[in-house]
Structures are given as C-alpha cells and as structure tokens.
C-alpha cells in the first residue's frame, strides 16, 4: 500500500496537518510519498520523498493548477490512496481529483481500521463505517483526528513545470481584523450557542460568564445571526481556545466547534438533548433547558 500525502503551505510555512497525514499512514501501515505546493527551499521533518511544486510559479491556490500537478505525481508514483486534510484546501481539491482518477472519495475520516474508514454522520451524532470500491481512493482526514508523526528530513524533488489556468482569478485575501477579547488567554470561557434561542437571551449566558469570572464566547450561528460579533467565535473559523473551564450553553458540538475547544481542561455542556455530540467532549453533561438552569446556577455562584 502506498499513500500520496498532500501537504498545505499556509501563513508562511508547511502546515502542521501534514504530520497528521504521516501519522495516519503509520497507523494503517502504508508506505508514503509527499506533495506540496510551497517554496522550493521548504524543510519538512519527514523521512521520505516530497515533491514540491514552486509556489512562486503556481501562485495562490487555483484548483485546476493544483489538480494537474497532483495528477502528474500520481502518474509517476502510482499511489493507492491520496490523502488530504479536510480543510478548505482539501474539501475543494479532493473531490475534483477523485473524478479525474475515477477514484472513490471518502471525506472527513476520523479513524481507520485496515481498509475500513470511520466518518462522522448526522452532525456527528452518529458514525458510519465505510469502504471504498475502486482501485484508487482519495481521502480527507478530519484535523486533529490522527496523532502527528515527525522524523528525519525530507528529500525534496522539485517540480518546475507548472501550467497556468485563467478560468478562476484570484483577487486577494481579506483578513478579519482582531477586535474584542482575546479568548486564547482566558481561563474560563462560557459560550452561547444557537440553543439560546434569541439575542436577548445572550445576557443569561453572559451573567454566568461574569459569575465565573470568565469571558463570553459563542458558536458560529450566534455570530452569523449578528447576536455577537466575530471576535467571540470559537472553532475552526474562529478562535482555538484551551481554558481551564469551558462551559457550552446550547451548543450541539459540531466538529468545527469541537476543534476549537476540545483541548480545554474541563468541559461542561448544558444541553436539553442528551444525545448532542458535545457529549463526546464534555466532562459534565447537564441535561437541561439552559434558560431554566443557567440563571439558577448563576445565582448560586454569586451568593
């Protein structure tokens, strides 16, 4: 079995997620070779060959350009599986590659046992065990699901022949300005989710945060609805936090939220649905309507 691992170059370096792909391959006992579009002088702590396509020529991400580069490497190396992270890069590119290779695509893998893969299902309330029915298989791995593995120095094979594509034009990046609180330094975070129901109810969660001398946080729908601004958002597209105590009020525990808070020391979930997937991360799960429970808890704490 041979795996082609597709790395990502982000914010000026090879993203750490590459080493999760390596860890995954170790777990399933596969040989590996790497590919990444990055500066040619990049260093990787990886014991093997990595094809690097010159990012100065490939420029900012263009799916067609990257797809063609990977197809070339696939032709040379003939891997059985091609592995991405389930990131904005991976979920954009992996399906396109699967079509070109007539390969099965299995997304957001959280575990692997031989050639069986486990993926989340129904907003992570359930799991599915699946298997591919094709010669080549394209996989994306949920970030954080596999332990990283680092060792050695990669042997770099540079790729200089890069075709351009003008069907999509990249017009620049937009970076959210950092305002409000820096949740990454907070010792206690109490977050409000869609379960609060309406904007006025945020106050109830905020009062609990105050009583615990902590900061207020939020899940994404609360931010999307305009109940709180972006700086409160915890998760893959918000902040990654690891306080001593994280209290999730009316938050279901979607993967993208968990990714931002599961490293907290102690997690309390307050949710009326006993089966909410936040249960996989919570140390204490309070089955209750938050509008009834949280005010009682707050008043006991402030007494």
């Amino acid at each position: 079995m041979k795996a082609l691992l597709i790395g990502e170059y982000k914010n000026g370096h090879i993203d750490e997620s590459f080493y999760e792909l390596v860890g995954f391959s170790k777990k399933i006992g596969s040989e590996t070779v790497g590919f990444v579009v990055a500066p040619l002088d990049s260093k990787l702590e990886y014991d093997g060959k990595v094809y690097i396509a010159d990012i100065n020529k490939a420029k900012d991400y263009n799916p067609k350009v990257h797809k063609d580069l990977i197809i070339n490497v696939v032709e040379k190396e003939n891997p059985d599986i091609i592995v991405f992270s389930h990131s904005s890069y991976g979920w954009d590119l992996a399906p396109r590659l699967s079509v070109a290779l007539n390969a099965a695509l299995i997304s957001e893998i959280i575990d692997a046992i031989d050639d069986n893969y486990i993926v989340p299902f129904c907003n992570a309330k359930l799991r599915r065990r699946v298997k591919a029915n094709s010669q080549k298989v394209v996989l994306t791995l949920q970030s954080g699901a596999f332990a990283t593995f680092k060792s050695g120095n990669a042997q770099i094979e540079s790729v200089n022949e890069i075709n351009q594509d003008d069907r999509l034009q990249f017009e620049g990046y937009e970076v959210a300005e950092k305002t409000g609180v820096d949740l990454t330094k907070a010792e206690v975070i109490v977050s409000a989710g869609r379960g609060v129901g309406k904007k006025e109810n945020i106050e109830v969660v905020k009062n609990l945060a105050k009583a615990l001398k902590g900061e207020l946080g939020a899940s994404r729908p609360v931010v999307d609805a305009g109940w709180l601004d972006e700086s409160y958002q915890v998760g893959t597209t918000g902040q990654t936090v690891s306080p001593k105590l994280y209290v999730a009020c009316g938050i279901s525990g979607a993967i993208q939220h968990l990714a931002g808070m599961k490293k907290s020391n102690f997690i309390v979930a307050i949710n009326k649905d006993k089966d909410a997937p936040i249960g996989e991360a919570a140390d204490v799960f309070v089955v209750a309507d938050l509008m009834e429970f949280v005010p009682v808890l707050t008043s006991k704490l402030t007494k």
Binding site: K10, P95, A104, R129, V130, L168, V175
Partner: protein, 257 residues
C-alpha cells in the same frame, strides 16, 4: 440567467436518532425533515439574484423519496420558479459521486449559468457533491462562499478559508458555487407565497433515468459514538443539578474556591 439550486432534505439534527434494523442508516420514521441548512442559503442567494436580474429562472432540484416534495415546495415558497423531484426511495445507498452524477446528467443539456449547492449536507456531510458536479459538467467551481455578486457575466465571490481569512475570487459563468453558513439570512416564506408555490410547476423524474454509475463508497455500518470516558451526566431538578455541578467544579477545577 438560468439558475439551478440543488437541495437535500435532511432530518432535524436535534431529533433522537435510532439506528435502522439493517444497521445501514437511521430509522426514518418518527423524524422531522427539513431543508439542509446550507442549501437554504443557496436558495436564498438564488432568489436575491433573481430579484436583481430580470429574466432569471430558478429551478430547484432534489433527490429523495416522496417526502422530498415538501422541501421543494418550501424552496418554491422562498421564491424559486419550478421544482424537479428526482424520485429515489433509497438515496442512502448512493454515494456522493452518484448523487453528483444524477445532478450532472439532469443539468448537462439545460445550459445553466449558475448552479448553487450547499457546502455540505448535515447528515452525510461529504462536502463533495458540488465540486464533483462541476468536474462532470466542465464548469468553474468555487466552494464555501460567504459572499456573492454577479456583474456582467462574471461572478465575484469570497471563499472562506481557516481562521477568519477569505480569498476573493472571480470567474466567468457557467459556474458551480457551494454556499457556506453566514452567506445571507434566509427569509420566511409569506402566506401568499406559500399559496403561490402550490401552483408552481413540480416535475418528477425517476432516478433510474438519470443514474448510470455504481457506488464507489460502500456503507458497512452506522453506529453511535461513545460519550467521553469518565464523564458525568446530570439529570433531574434544576436546583439539585446546580448544586451538584458547583461541587464537581470545586473538586475538579481550580476556578472555584
């Protein structure tokens, strides 16, 4: 402008799920179904485009059993013009490649300018159908859009990356776009529009007419994940649970003393 929106009907994620007897899926009886959240943004964005651009026609397509018609009717009430129901009594047995090829087979001779889909479905969540459709049709494709604008045959979108960064991308139609949370706020259909939707055209096509691919991914089993090891579940009276929780926090964390 000829627009297609693909929507999926999914269970309400707050439902109590039971695994089906064959362990292949969830039990479908007793569940409430609705439009996949991401697909509602897709419908809304298409309707906003139609409001700005004369001569725009929006077709809504959904693959699924008979009940799927309710989801299509809702999209028509939001403002789509006509519905296409691809009747499939076992959509759970199809993988994302098959779903995409059904959509592509339907779309291939209809010259759609824009195809909107959700970024992912809430039940299966492969985030794959959109880009696969684009490859099969040879269309441009941008995934995970949080902003959309159409100007003179060109689409300007923002594509969400990680950590609050967005990439601005522009491209010519025809194009496939997958919609992310926060793209817009979906309107509630008004009563007159719900009434009007009942009269809009809704055609049914049998899935066998559009599908000629075998699944590439085989479903082996569905199961319930375990709760965190050593976790405590509190149930009962609010007052007692609050006391219990305070005691646990005193014992196990340093934040209360």
């Amino acid at each position: 402008m000829n627009v297609l929106v693909c929507i999926k009907q999914v269970p309400d994620m707050e439902s109590k799920f039971k695994i089906s007897n064959d362990k292949q899926w969830y039990e479908q009886s007793d569940l409430t179904f609705k439009i996949n959240e991401y697909d509602e943004y897709a419908v809304e964005e298409a309707v906003r485009l139609k409001e700005k651009l004369a001569n725009t026609e929006i077709t809504v397509l959904s693959i699924g059993p008979e009940r799927t018609k309710e989801a299509i009717r809702k999209a028509l009430a939001i403002g789509a013009d006509k519905g296409v129901h691809v009747l499939d009594n076992e959509p759970q047995k199809k993988d994302s490649f098959q779903i995409a090829s059904i959509i592509a087979n339907y779309a291939k001779d209809k010259s759609f300018d824009i195809i909107f889909l959700g970024m992912q479905s809430q039940d299966r969540g492969s985030a794959a159908v959109g880009p696969i459709v684009s490859e099969l049709l040879g269309y441009n494709c941008v995934t995970t859009i949080v902003s959309f604008e159409y100007v003179d045959g060109k689409v300007n979108v923002k594509r969400e990356l990680e950590g609050g960064i967005k990439a601005k991308v522009s491209a010519k139609t025809p194009i496939v776009l997958t919609c992310q949370l926060g793209l817009n706020t979906v309107r509630y259909p008004t009563l007159p529009n719900i009434m009007k939707a009942k009269k809009k055209e809704l055609n049914t096509i049998n899935v066998s007419e559009l599908l000629n691919e075998e699944p590439r991914v085989i479903n082996l089993e569905v199961f319930v994940p375990e709760k965190k090891k050593g976790s405590i579940v509190l149930e009962g009276k609010v007052d007692e649970m609050a006391d219990q929780l305070i005691n646990i926090l005193k014992e196990k964390t340093q934040v209360l003393r």
